[in-house]
């Protein structure tokens, strides 16, 4: 099962400019178009070999779409294309203020189960985390455009922290919903 020999990067594959800002509508339209062409269902009555090739290409298009579709994955991919390794990104120093903020948010989240009316507090917290993530996305976009990769990488790490927190908040939300 060899991976398709595909030299284009995901942005080229989708005919999109190499930048963080993304036209979501265009991405989706291209995605549908590529899958219309490459999905294994289009090759169901052909030989097993062709079907295998189609599975590989279709999987690649799915992978590319999933990467470009999510802001954090897209940002990390841009850094990877710019030559930064995962280790380099993770090694970016974090400023103390951000870490303290993180700890505070986490404490709020952990005390959620003890509250009488956790729903509204949780909603508020989720909105706060979402806002923070958008701030760092802007930060990333500006730094990346200015080729300031260290700042861009540091924004990425912050997004990673916050996304993780958001996932935990959503998990608590779903636990609460299941209890109702």
């Amino acid at each position: 099962m060899a991976f398709p020999d595909f030299k284009q990067n995901y942005f080229q594959l989708f005919n999109l400019p190499l930048e963080f800002a993304l036209d979501q509508g265009q991405l989706s339209a291209r995605y549908r178009q590529l899958q219309q062409q490459l999905h294994p269902d289009r090759y169901a009555s052909t030989s097993a070999h062709e079907q295998r090739v189609a599975v590989q290409y279709s999987a690649l298009v799915n992978q590319a779409y999933a990467t470009l579709n999510k802001p954090l994955a897209r940002a990390l991919y841009l850094l990877e294309l710019a030559g930064m390794s995962q280790e380099q990104i993770a090694a970016e120093p974090m400023d103390g203020g951000f870490l303290i903020e993180q700890m505070e948010l986490r404490e709020k989240l952990e005390s959620m189960h003890d509250l009488v009316d956790p729903d509204s507090v949780l909603d508020h917290l989720v909105a706060e985390i979402g806002g923070d993530i958008r701030t760092h996305q802007m930060e990333f976009s500006q730094a990346y455009t200015a080729s300031n990769l260290d700042v861009a990488a540091s924004a990425c790490v912050k997004m990673q922290y916050l996304e993780k927190l958001l996932q935990e908040a959503e998990q608590i939300e779903s636990d609460l919903m299941d209890k109702q």
Binding site: Q37, A44, S45, T46, S47, E50, Q56, A66, S174
Partner: protein, 627 residues
């Protein structure tokens, strides 16, 4: 449209002819077969005009299994020999199935491999074999009605089926002599049936509550593409559980103890009838005649019934909530589609309507909608609709992960990832000179291996001895469009390749399947040979035709002269072999030609991507932007 068959209009060498293909809904309670004829999809009834085949198989006569209504009628007299709701046991381990088996009063055979086998008068029977009997009847019905052998079938499975349950379904089809074009998720099939009829755009929720399984899927339909955004459910929750709740209530109410298996089956049938009547009636009387000494009757009101099933309905709504969250919608769903016989229950309809704040769509018979959708997909897959650009993009329902140190699960492909999907993961050795590595694949959302479903455990052997941590073993996981997993492994430093076949921990291996096939074909060994040869010739024919067109179109542009010559040489070898009688030789030659043409196919695929993108009109793009 085919990769190697991209031809200009009018250039096609094969005259257009309709190919026979069917959609099969292999249900817990009933199974159906449907096909598209004259542009319309419809269910094929049996000789008596009944569209539904009860999914019941009786093994009282060791020489011939009985399927359908006749088998159903034998259920009370021969409870152990009459298998109902076998779908609930598909692909499950013996330990896991004990509780369900006890409730249904089946005896399970001891099995060293941990597989489920029912003890019957005809010997031990696996759920796969019983399902194959059902499929065989539907296959024959389709051949009789349509007048010829089929090109293939799309078989539906609950969206929430895991890898082993899917593999078991495919194995059953193979046993029944069916070529599986695709395993299709039931809610997706239902969406297709509705989507095509109404040309809907927007977000659709499909609530599918059948006899034994529950699925919820959220899909987005846009310009002929059905994109499944999220799916969820429970593969052991359905109408059977409602019947059991009623039956248990009756026993409690009448103060009786547990019944004999045969009598319990009778009570279950009466409970089901009561449930069905309560969709219209306000109350029903359930007779205990012949079941308990007092022989009286108990009265069940609709309100009483609703309070019995309320917890189960609530359980389905919880799954809906999680699925909606997974779909990450910023709008409401536009339509709710109801599938499965259990959605006839008024309480279920009301609860779903309230949950989604939408009146559900009920235009298509909820028992038939899945088979109809599957038939449409089968029609597309065999190429009967060259103009039809309907495409289904489905997802995996459960995360795939690997066991790591300390019995923890590391997720490699999260749930609701669009398929097909390929992920590579790198491993290394932790001892000097280590030459083998065990990889354990699990499925599910839990963090501990102990809480997850074990899919497969395999050993990578032949790693060249190196110091600890020096070997780099890349394991590639691929989930195909049927939702089935393939794994391959490669040691990066030396290029040692090892192909791994993943067979579910509780599934049948290929030898077992061919042994079963052999047994079922033992009377017709020659038929089998002839069929294999015919199939192999078809495969060769397809490859040759495709290549000829492809070479005519792109051979000069994409191939060097010597590459071209090599392909032509291999093609003439296949052509020679096609007139021979040797299946194996033909298979090998075809295989070699296929391999030789793969890189050409890939180059054409690249070219068609470029064309797809450069051929985009501005209007089409604007359309996409304004969505």
């Amino acid at each position: 449209m085919a990769l190697l068959q991209i031809a200009e209009p009018g250039q096609s060498p094969v005259p257009h002819q309709v190919k026979l293909a069917v959609g099969i809904d292999l249900g817990t309670t009933n199974s159906l077969v449907a096909t598209v004829r004259g542009g319309r999809a419809a269910v094929l009834p049996d000789e008596q005009g009944a569209p539904m085949l009860p999914s019941v198989v009786n093994y009282s006569d060791p020489s011939a299994a009985v399927v359908g209504r006749t088998a159903q009628a034998m259920s009370s007299e021969h409870p152990a020999d009459t298998l109902i709701s076998v779908k609930r046991f598909m692909g499950r381990g013996r330990e896991d199935a004990n509780e369900d088996a006890a409730r249904a009063h089946y005896q399970l055979a001891d099995d060293a491999a941990g597989m489920v086998r029912f003890v019957t008068a005809a010997g031990p029977v696996s759920p796969v074999e019983a399902s194959a009997e059902i499929l065989r009847v539907l296959h024959q019905r389709a051949i009789d009605t349509l007048g010829d052998e089929l090109q293939g079938a799309v078989i539906t499975v609950p969206a929430y089926f895991d890898e082993s349950q899917r593999q078991a379904t495919k194995d059953a089809a193979t046993l029944a002599g069916l070529k599986v074009l695709r395993l299709l998720n039931e809610p997706t099939a239902a969406a297709v049936a509705y989507g095509l009829d109404s040309a809907e755009q927007g977000v659709i929720a499909v609530y599918d509550l059948g006899g034994g399984t529950f699925d919820i899927s959220i899909l987005r339909l846009h310009q002929g593409v059905f994109e499944v955004l999220a799916t969820g459910g429970d593969t052991a929750l359905g109408g059977d559980d409602f019947d059991a709740a009623v039956a248990d209530w009756v026993l409690q109410e009448s103060g009786s103890q547990a019944l004999q298996p045969g009598l319990y089956r009778t009570l279950q049938a009466r409970a089901r009838a009561a449930k069905e009547q309560l969709s219209d009636a306000e109350s029903v009387s359930i007779s205990l005649d012949g079941l308990v000494d007092s022989g009286a009757a108990v009265v069940l009101t609709r309100a009483g019934f609703e309070s019995l099933i309320q917890p189960l309905v609530k359980q389905t709504l919880r799954a809906c909530r999680r699925c909606l969250r997974d779909a990450q919608l910023d709008t409401d769903v536009d339509n709710v589609v109801m599938v499965g016989g259990s959605t006839r229950i008024p309480l279920v309809r009301e609860a779903v309507a309230e949950f989604f704040s939408r009146d559900p769509l009920l235009d298509i018979d909820p028992d038939q909608v899945v088979a109809v959708g599957a038939a449409i997909q089968a029609d597309i897959l065999v190429g009967n609709r060259p103009e039809g650009d309907l495409l289904l993009l489905d997802v995996i329902p459960l995360s795939l992960g690997l066991e790591t140190m300390g019995g923890l699960v590391e997720k490699i492909i999260p749930r609701n990832t669009t398929i097909p999907v390929t992920r590579a993961q790198e491993f290394t050795t932790f001892k000097d000179g280590q030459t083998a590595l065990v990889v354990h694949i699990v499925q599910g959302e839990r963090e501990l291996v102990a809480d997850s479903r074990s899919l497969a455990r395999f050993e990578l052997r032949g790693i060249p001895p190196m110091v600890a941590g020096a070997a780099r073993i890349q394991v590639t996981f691929q989930v195909d469009a049927d939702g089935l997993l393939n794994v391959s492994a490669r040691e990066a430093a030396t290029g040692v390749q090892s192909a791994v076949t993943v067979k579910p921990s509780f599934g049948l291996n290929d030898e077992q399947i061919s042994a079963m096939l052999q047994a079922s074909f033992s009377h017709a060994e020659q038929d089998k040979q002839a069929r294999q040869l015919a199939e192999q010739r078809l495969e060769a024919q397809q490859l040759l035709e495709g290549l000829e067109i492809a070479l005519a179109a792109d051979g000069d542009a994409l191939l060097a002269p010597d590459e071209c010559a090599r392909l032509h040489q291999k093609m003439s070898l296949v052509r020679e072999q096609m007139s021979g009688e040797d299946v194996n030789d033909l298979r090998i030659q075809t295989e070699q030609l296929g391999q030789a043409s793969e890189s050409f196919a890939a180059r054409r695929m690249d070219k068609s991507i470029r064309e797809a993108l450069s051929g985009v009109s501005l209007e089409a793009l604007d359309d996409g932007v304004s969505e």
